[in-house]
């Protein structure tokens, strides 16, 4: 290890070290970031939800989008797996169905980056006991 010889060196070191704990930092205030939840129940996994989750993690990072990608349970849209729920900061969550890599790419480029809606939205019109 080379010694840190100046404040600038320290700042460089910090930038490098931050990638190591990025996953943890993101968890602190998820509401301020783009949140992508991938439904990972049996049907989702069978339809390729794991690959889609990996795709989101890798691509969002590559395209420099600050996002938290997590997995969740069955959302109930078994006819449209893999399904994902995207929450932009300060907005209501939107659910997309039949997400393959092509649609995932569209979601990132259109909805996440510009807020423009794309095909595959599943309208959520049920109520939960919280409301």
């Amino acid at each position: 290890m080379n010694k840190i010889k100046s404040l600038d060196d320290l700042k460089k070191m910090r930038a490098q070290a931050q990638t190591g704990i990025n996953v943890r930092e993101k968890s602190i205030d998820p509401a301020s970031r783009v949140q992508v939840k991938v439904a990972m129940a049996t049907c989702g996994i069978a339809s390729g939800a794991k690959e889609i989750m990996d795709f989101f993690i890798e691509q969002l990072d590559r395209r420099s989008v600050e996002a938290v990608v997590t997995q969740t349970g069955c959302m109930g849209y078994c006819y449209a797996e893999p399904t994902i729920e995207v929450t932009l900061p300060g907005q209501e969550p939107v659910v997309f169905g039949d997400v393959d890599k092509k649609r995932a790419d569209q979601i990132i480029e259109m909805y996440i980056k510009t807020g423009e809606l794309v095909d595959g939205i599943i309208p959520v019109n049920y109520r939960t006991i919280d409301k």
Partner: protein, 597 residues
């Protein structure tokens, strides 16, 4: 971007390690390896999460799932269910004892809701044995910033303006202490970190050193720069082996990175830190006694003045700060004194860490803004009293503090308010008592501690505390007379007024405060020979209710001293002269025939 898409944070504090968190880490790694996930999921051992009641804790990020009471054998389920299938392992989630619902993250837990973590900011978040994780959290940026931008005087002004006061007990303004040490001219000065945490039930300093050692090292360097010292010493008790090993690792890494040693960050400022081990004597938390102990002398206090800021370690000016105080420093430098002084009350700024212990649901370590009320701490964060019993008192400030009652529950906690109520902040131990605790016994317990820990140098403390203890013992035995209450009070005041150091000046506090708030309990012991809480064994009488006794002989067989006599199917009786009041007969009897009075 790191290759890991998920982190498993496992608590590595002393408490959780005692519950096999080492093995949890090992098993998680093994399971991940078996599933071929070791490349995408990272297991990290962190410092204390504070929620010791439900340890060991495993937290999964980024989805923020908080698992409690995890056993090494749960590793398989965590990996197969949570990580592979994406389903939370319900049985390991926290269940809110009041609302009876399962909570999966800290946001939903009342234990964390009211907390504000400054001193504990990195505990339970970073790996304390990896300096890079500390650096990623702006570690060593504060020392870097002041070395390039501020004069020592400016740093002292920042600390003064922040309103930070000593977290070890007395609450002396930290910036002023630094200024006094800076003003003394000398060829050599020292920065001392007081890690001799001695209050029964307090473990915040240990947790900070175990969970975030670099924050203390960085703060010591900042202090060294401000007062003009190139040497730091950490006085730590040898009975904190994990804290010592993490500190040594941290010091080694900081030296390797050039953040301790000569010419730090090319500024020309030199600073290095060594450890000094103490034998775990309570009095060595007092700064003059601590300094004598570091010099290899007896750990006895000496008269102040001269204060250590003028004549301390090896007769050189020495600045002594407590661990928690130091842990606040880097945050104050980076976020500014205005930010810090905006938190807390008028005279007590920032936050305070408390160790919750005793009859409370959520035993653990918490950090709240000054001015939070005892009620919020005990009922909201602490989750209320165990087993639905009634709250009786809370002891703050350890053996030097006092007991506060229900009437004080809405007092905002700060240095002044606690003193005014007859207790003190101390290092932040909080022992919660319920209706089953006898207040005379509590006072006796703390006195016993002070008698043990008195160094013996001055007679008020050495002899006076012993006599106080004997008086209390007589009361719990039911052998005291009414005038003993006046003697207790009088003797307590003499000890307070005439003792040499803080130990004797505060050791009668538990007696005085219980006498003030629970006088009727003392009187019940003396006049009625009864212990209302039913804790003082000598005052209990076990007898057999003739109408309930069926003569099963169970009690006679359970009695360890043969005090119970009686034939089969006939009524038994207890010989009071032999009975040792162990309660074995009471526990054994199935017919409620043993009466306790």
């Amino acid at each position: 971007m790191s290759k890991y898409k998920m982190h498993l944070l496992v608590c590595g504090g002393t408490g959780c390690r005692a519950s096999a968190s080492d093995a949890i880490v090992e098993n998680l790694k093994k399971e991940l390896n078996n599933q071929g996930l070791d490349e995408s999921v990272q297991v990290i051992m962190t410092g204390c999460f504070g929620f010791c009641e439900k340890g060991p804790i495993v937290k999964v990020v980024p989805d923020n799932t908080f698992y409690t009471e995890v056993k090494p054998s749960d590793a398989k389920d965590l990996v197969e269910e949570h990580i592979i299938k994406g389903r939370k392992v319900e049985r390991l989630l926290y269940k809110d004892p009041v609302k009876k619902v399962t909570v999966s993250d800290e946001e939903g837990m009342s234990f964390y809701k009211k907390q504000l973590r400054i001193a504990l900011r990195n505990c339970g978040f970073i790996n304390p044995e990896n300096i890079e994780e500390y650096i990623a959290r702006d570690g060593y940026m504060a020392i870097g910033q002041i070395l390039s931008e501020n004069t020592p005087e400016e740093v002292i002004e920042i600390i003064k303006a922040s309103g930070l006061r000593g977290r070890g007990g007395a609450g002396f303004p930290t910036g002023l202490k630094w200024q006094l040490t800076r003003q003394t001219k000398s060829d050599q000065k020292y920065v001392v970190c007081n890690a001799d945490e001695g209050d029964p039930g307090a473990f915040m300093d240990r947790s900070i050193l175990e969970g975030d050692p670099h924050s203390v090292l960085e703060a010591m360097a900042i202090c060294g720069y401000s007062i003009g010292a190139d040497t730091g010493l950490i006085y730590i008790r040898a009975e904190y082996p994990l804290a010592i090993s993490r500190l040594l690792t941290a010091i080694g890494q900081a030296r390797e990175f050039g953040l301790l040693g000569k010419n730090i960050l090319g500024s020309g400022f030199d600073f290095d830190i060594e450890l000094k081990y103490g034998a775990g004597a309570f009095v060595c938390g007092e700064e003059t006694a601590l300094i004598h102990s570091m010099e290899g002398k007896r750990g006895e206090p000496s008269l102040k003045p001269p204060f250590p800021s003028v004549e301390g370690y090896l007769k050189k000016p020495t600045n002594v700060n407590n661990v928690e105080t130091l842990a606040n420093i880097p945050a104050i430098i980076l976020k500014g004194h205005k930010w810090f002084s905006s938190i807390g009350t008028e005279k007590s700024k920032g936050t305070k860490v408390f160790a919750l212990a005793g009859k409370i649901n959520n035993v653990g370590l918490i950090e709240v803004p000054m001015g939070t009320t005892l009620r919020e701490v005990i009922y909201e964060i602490g989750g209320g009293i165990k087993d639905g019993k009634k709250f009786k008192a809370v002891q703050t400030g350890g053996p030097s503090g006092g007991c506060l009652t229900e009437a004080h529950l809405d007092v905002p906690i700060d240095y002044e308010n606690l003193l005014a109520a007859g207790s003190m902040m101390g290092s932040g131990g909080m022992i919660i008592m319920d209706e089953d605790n006898c207040m005379v016994s509590i006072a006796k317990y703390f006195l016993d501690f002070s008698v043990e820990e008195s160094c013996g140098k001055c007679s008020p403390c050495r002899i006076g505390n012993k006599r106080l203890y004997e008086l209390l013992d007589r009361i719990t035995q039911g052998k005291a007379e009414f005038d003993d209450l006046a003697r207790l009070k009088n003797l307590s005041e003499v000890i307070k007024d005439t003792s040499l150091c803080g130990l004797g000046q505060s050791s009668p506090n538990p007696v005085l405060s219980t006498l003030q708030y629970f006088r009727e309990e003392y009187e019940a012991h003396i006049i009625d020979h009864k212990c209302p809480a039913g804790e003082c064994k000598a005052l209990m009488v076990y007898s057999i209710l003739e109408e309930h006794c069926v003569g099963c002989t169970a009690c006679a067989r359970a009695c360890p001293v043969g005090a119970i006599s009686g034939e089969r199917k006939l009524v038994h009786s207890i010989d009071q002269s032999i009975c040792i009041k162990c309660g074995a007969c009471f526990d054994k009897c199935k017919f409620d025939a043993v009466l306790v009075q």
